[in-house]
Symmetry: C2
Subunit: 194 residues, 2 copies
């Protein structure tokens, strides 16, 4: 998606350790007009009428998912990190390792909000090694629901997550795929998706 690639080039910062900082517009400060364009693009890429729910994970996925949901006319469910006393005992649970925070989270979704008749679109801000998305897929499968697709804002194409997910036959669409980036020059190379 040209608009997102342009924005990453303009406002993204490449840091040592394969870190791409996009907190200017994506995951700390959030550009809602950009999110609307991303939401329209997700709808174009996932036209299935069956999609009746969007699943994301706190915190950075929520804004993108909520704005996108307006184009699908479906509710959003966000998976929560760690147990909350406000969640009933009746939850699906998995473990997700965070690349950013270097720790493992328990991630839960209430059984009330995903069931076997659901057709779920998973949305998240980043796809790198795929841990978060794999955890979300596990939650959907635990519920006996169907994963209709995985919509990602930025995929780090040089890490294995996207390849592994596509290899399983999943419909994965990333609005921008970074094939390489260089912290010393700031250069970012995007994969052509035309």
């Amino acid at each position: 998606m040209q608009l997102l690639e342009d924005r990453i080039r303009r406002d993204g910062l490449v840091k040592e350790g394969n870190v791409l900082k996009v907190d200017n517009f994506l995951n700390h400060q959030m550009d809602i007009e950009l999110f609307n364009e991303m939401g329209k693009e997700f709808r174009r890429l996932f036209p299935q009428k069956e999609i009746n729910k969007i699943l994301t994970i706190e915190a950075s996925g929520i804004g993108i998912a909520c704005v996108a949901a307006q184009y699908f006319h479906v509710p959003v469910v966000f998976a929560k990190k760690s147990q909350s006393i406000n969640i009933d005992g009746s939850v699906y649970c998995t473990k997700i390792e965070s690349f950013t925070h270097k720790r493992v989270y328990d991630v839960i979704v209430s059984k009330k909000y995903i069931g076997k008749d659901d057709h779920v679109l998973i949305i998240d801000d980043f796809l790198a090694n795929g841990c978060a998305v794999n955890g979300l897929i596990e939650l959907v499968q635990s519920a006996g629901a169907t994963v209709e697709g995985v919509g990602i804002a930025i995929e780090k194409g040089f890490q294995e997550g996207g390849k592994l997910l596509r290899g399983k036959g999943l419909h994965v669409e990333s609005l921008a795929i970074v094939d390489s980036m260089d912290a010393s020059t700031g250069e970012i190379v995007f994969r052509s998706q035309n």
Copy 2:
């Protein structure tokens, strides 16, 4: 706001310990069409042209803030709980005690995203004792920015947060104020705001 009060009566659950569970539509599964109506109402209640940024806190505030931001045409910044390696060292920091999780969080906002010229609307899902909102106000004040108002989805009117904030002269608007609720009968009494 009648639509929200009706929804709380229909789908909210009153639990022992002054817990109001609204995870069916507000803070786990999220009804985006409802969020749109709430966003329009926030715009009506806060018509100030000066508002150039919405500040919320992860995780439950993000969806409401992002959908509302479409009616203000401003970016959203969400304050983050605990330090992330993806945040530069240059942050405003405060401590917030969570009623839900019974713990104290470090909450941060990058100095890049709030500055002295900003006119900030704070949005969150709940207002009870006011800890979260007070923390967000502290962050805004640390930046030398102006708090234009505080927009809340559900205020627990029987706790002191709203009264204390209004007592300081802040413009606080809650779309629904629960004056009392009874876990044994499920009854919820809303404050009249006409």
